[in-house]
């Protein structure tokens, strides 16, 4: 059975590394994304991640396959959903390849494409009590625009 990419449990990087390391892969590059305590100058207390689960799984699988095909890298990744505290690991990637250049490139590809394509969202709880969805595009129309 395939391991899901989304998890509500704490991510264990060692397990991801075990899934990609092998005798012919001399380089393993890992990436951890952790919850920051500030956003746009405001103090963040915790985060909630939510996802469109079935589509997120499909998109993660596509990205993993891209890394495999383009760089011959074995990649394992997981993304947390649910409530996370400051410093918690929200995403982890392990990319293994025969040599370091391919391993670095594959790992970089996976995190960049994940942030661009995988339907996951986060809601920040600020120290001042306000709660906001992270939306760098600020796309919603104001009420008056109707």
């Amino acid at each position: 059975m395939k391991t899901p990419y989304l998890t509500e449990r704490e991510i264990d990087l060692e397990l991801l590394i075990e899934r990609v390391e092998s005798a012919d892969r001399g380089a393993v590059v890992t990436f951890l994304g952790t919850v920051r305590n500030h956003h746009a100058g405001r103090e963040v207390e915790r985060l909630e991640y939510s996802a469109y689960g079935p589509m997120a799984e499909i998109e993660c699988e596509r990205i993993r396959l891209e890394a495999e095909q383009q760089w011959g890298a074995a990649v394992a990744l997981e993304h947390r959903v649910g409530a996370l505290g400051i410093g918690d690991v929200s995403v982890a990637i392990a990319a293994a390849a025969p040599h370091r250049d391919a391993a670095f490139a594959a790992c970089r590809h996976v995190i960049e494409q994940l942030k661009r394509r995988v339907p996951i969202w986060k809601r920040e709880h600020f120290a001042d009590g306000t709660v906001e969805w992270v939306d760098p595009t600020n796309e919603l129309k104001t009420e008056e625009e109707d």
Binding site: H79, W121, D135, E139, L140, T142, D146
Partner: protein, 85 residues
């Protein structure tokens, strides 16, 4: 009389708050496009009028544009700009 089709629309993350629900069942005349479904939503849910003109849409888990035709039993999802990582 024109044929009708019915599909499920899911509102993810911030859009669920905006519309006040996580999903809706929409019935409209066939043939219809993703854009037509959005038109029905804007007429039904006051919050839907704050959606961007071209929100990110997924039909049966694949990203589509507004011109894509919808069919009976489809699942259309409206996705805010993604922010994972």
């Amino acid at each position: 009389m024109a044929e009708k089709l019915t599909l499920t629309v899911r509102f993810l993350a911030r859009y669920a708050e905006l519309l006040g629900t996580e999903s809706a069942t929409v019935t409209l005349s066939s043939p219809a496009s993703v854009g037509d479904v959005l038109g029905v939503l804007r007429g039904t849910f006051p919050g839907a009028r704050r959606l961007p003109d071209r929100p990110l849409c997924a039909l049966n888990l694949s990203q589509v544009d507004l011109a894509t035709p919808v069919a009976e039993g489809d699942e259309l999802a409206l996705l805010p700009p993604v922010a994972g990582g």
